[in-house]
């Protein structure tokens, strides 16, 4: 049995390939992202390395792992948000429907139009509810039928009934859970294909959290959802597929994130293949 400190990249890739994963059967899966040997470094510090997996359409995929394992870094690769951090270098490839996401002439704006993001702490703009949801369509030039667009987005985010009479009110007057749903509506308004969520419920109370989780269930009918969560039970409840990331230490003690196991959620939480995964989900980690 490999231990966390002695594992090499070769070990990991053999383990994953050797056994049969319980991925969705071929007739149900359509690859949206094909990640190959992805690595991210900040100013020379390797934060993430050797990640390969596929993200499938209309499924909820969760990334779990201890803090510092690079899952937030990884998710930000999908919508080029890492580019905002100076000194961030992305190696390896991510294919989005076969196209290289980091190809030479790829426009980050086009990428973000199709791949939206919801953040950990709700961050509505200091504007009215309507203007928040309308911001995306406006900057992208989708101004026809704006009212309907806003209404549809708010409905999909299960917020319309609560705010339909006060669209001009400030977004900051909403509760935390409502603000987060507003951020989801804002993201939906530009009609993305993929929704990335970075710990969307970690700043919310349990009832608001449940609503967000129910929302994820509903949204996956029309969208592909990737969610980072540090709450394992949330991943167990909500995700169809779960990827577990962990930290390896290099020769000089540098910490790098790696992908340990990626499988159907039911498998990860009943019979994980890798001992590191089992240690983490059972709470024996660290």
């Amino acid at each position: 049995m490999v231990t966390a400190t002695s594992v090499t990249m070769a070990d990991v890739s053999i383990n994953l390939a050797e056994r049969e994963q319980q991925l969705p059967p071929k007739e149900f899966r359509e690859v949206v992202f094909d990640v190959n040997d992805l690595g991210v470094s900040y100013n020379g510090n390797q934060a993430l390395q050797g990640v390969s997996l596929e993200i499938y359409r209309n499924f909820v995929t969760a990334f779990i792992g201890p803090s510092g394992c690079g899952k937030s870094t990884f998710i930000r690769c999908f919508n080029h948000l890492n580019a905002l951090i100076p000194g961030a270098v992305v190696e390896g490839t991510i294919l989005y429907h076969g196209e290289d996401l980091y190809g030479a002439h790829v426009d980050p704006v086009e990428v973000r139009k199709r791949i939206g993001m919801v953040f950990q702490k709700p961050n509505p703009f200091p504007k009215s509810i309507y203007d928040n949801v309308a911001f995306g369509p406006r900057v992208l030039g989708m101004t026809d039928g704006l009212d309907e667009r806003v209404e549809r987005a708010l409905e999909q985010a299960a917020l319309w009934d609560e705010v339909k009479d006060r669209l001009k009110a400030s977004a900051l007057s909403l509760s935390g859970g409502q603000q987060q749903r507003l951020c989801i509506a804002r993201c939906l308004a530009v009609e993305p294909e993929v929704i990335l969520m970075d710990e969307p419920a970690s700043a919310l109370d349990p009832i608001a959290t449940t609503r967000i989780e129910d929302l994820m269930h509903d949204l996956k009918r029309d969208y592909t959802i990737v969610v980072v969560t540090h709450n394992m039970q949330q991943a167990a409840r909500v995700a169809d597929l779960t990827a577990f990331f962990s930290i390896t230490r290099g020769a000089e003690g540098q910490r790098t994130g790696i992908l340990v196991e990626y499988d159907a959620t039911s498998k990860i939480f009943t019979q994980p293949f890798d001992k590191r995964t089992e240690d983490y989900v059972t709470g024996r980690f660290g």
């Binding site: 149900f28 269930h217 167990a236 409840r237 169809d240 039911s266």
Partner: protein, 234 residues
């Protein structure tokens, strides 16, 4: 892949409550299968029908399939939803009842096998009739147990203890009866084998009482036996 898995892979919304409902429905269906098995084994015993006995033995595969599926469903539910309070008690109760039903089916198979073994031997008609009575009582108890579970009926569950009395008494009388069967070796062999059949029927009754205890646990949250094993024999 379990039913829950494939449903979620198809993108359907399978909510936690629906999963619980499905699990219980599966359990009820399993009990129907067990009752069919029981009736089949009793009829085979009555009519000394070897073919029917074979069918009963083959039928056990279906019960086992159902048993495994429910077991997987429970595992999934526990792993993914981490149920608490009444939901947790429900899942644990389903787990126990599932086990009990599978054992009941196994006991029916044993009866069927013994029927085959003794088909050509001499038999005692009165005992055979008594077995029919015991068997019918066991059937009734199973129905009462499953219905009480479905309706969360504590009184119904507790009534199973009294219903079981009859089977227990009949079981104890069987040994006496076999000793009085006489010296015919065939009859004696049949009698010995029938003791096992009687024991099987008594165990079926006990499992039904266990199901009642699970209903009580679900409703009250208390782990308790309905009867005290150290109660002196009557």
């Amino acid at each position: 892949m379990s039913r829950a898995d494939s449903a979620s892979f198809r993108g359907l919304r399978v909510s936690f409550q629906e999963e619980l409902e499905a699990l219980q429905a599966n359990l009820q269906e399993e009990s129907e299968l067990v009752l069919r098995s029981l009736r089949g084994s009793l009829n085979a015993l009555q009519q000394r029908d070897v073919e029917l006995a074979d069918e009963v033995i083959a039928f056990d595969d279906e019960v086992d399939e159902r048993y495994l599926a429910i077991g997987q469903g429970i595992e999934q539910l526990l792993a993914r939803q981490t149920p608490v309070a009444v939901d947790l008690r429900l899942v644990l109760a389903v787990l126990h009842i599932n086990l009990g039903l599978e054992r009941m089916a196994d006991l029916c198979v044993t009866i069927a096998k013994l029927t085959k073994l003794t088909a050509e031997l001499e038999h005692d008609a009165t005992m055979v009739e008594a077995f029919e009575e015991m068997g019918s009582r066991a059937e009734e108890m199973t129905r009462v147990a499953m219905r009480s579970f479905a309706e969360r009926d504590l009184a119904g569950a507790e009534s199973l203890v009294d219903l079981d009395e009859m089977i227990d008494r009949a079981n104890r009388r069987v040994v006496k009866h076999v000793l009085e069967l006489g010296n015919d070796p065939e009859l004696r062999e049949w009698g010995l084998r029938m003791i096992i059949v009687s024991r099987c029927l008594e165990r079926v009754g006990d499992h039904a009482v266990d199901i009642g205890e699970q209903t009580a646990y679900l409703v009250t949250g208390e782990f308790r036996e309905f009867t005290d094993a150290s109660r002196p024999d009557e």
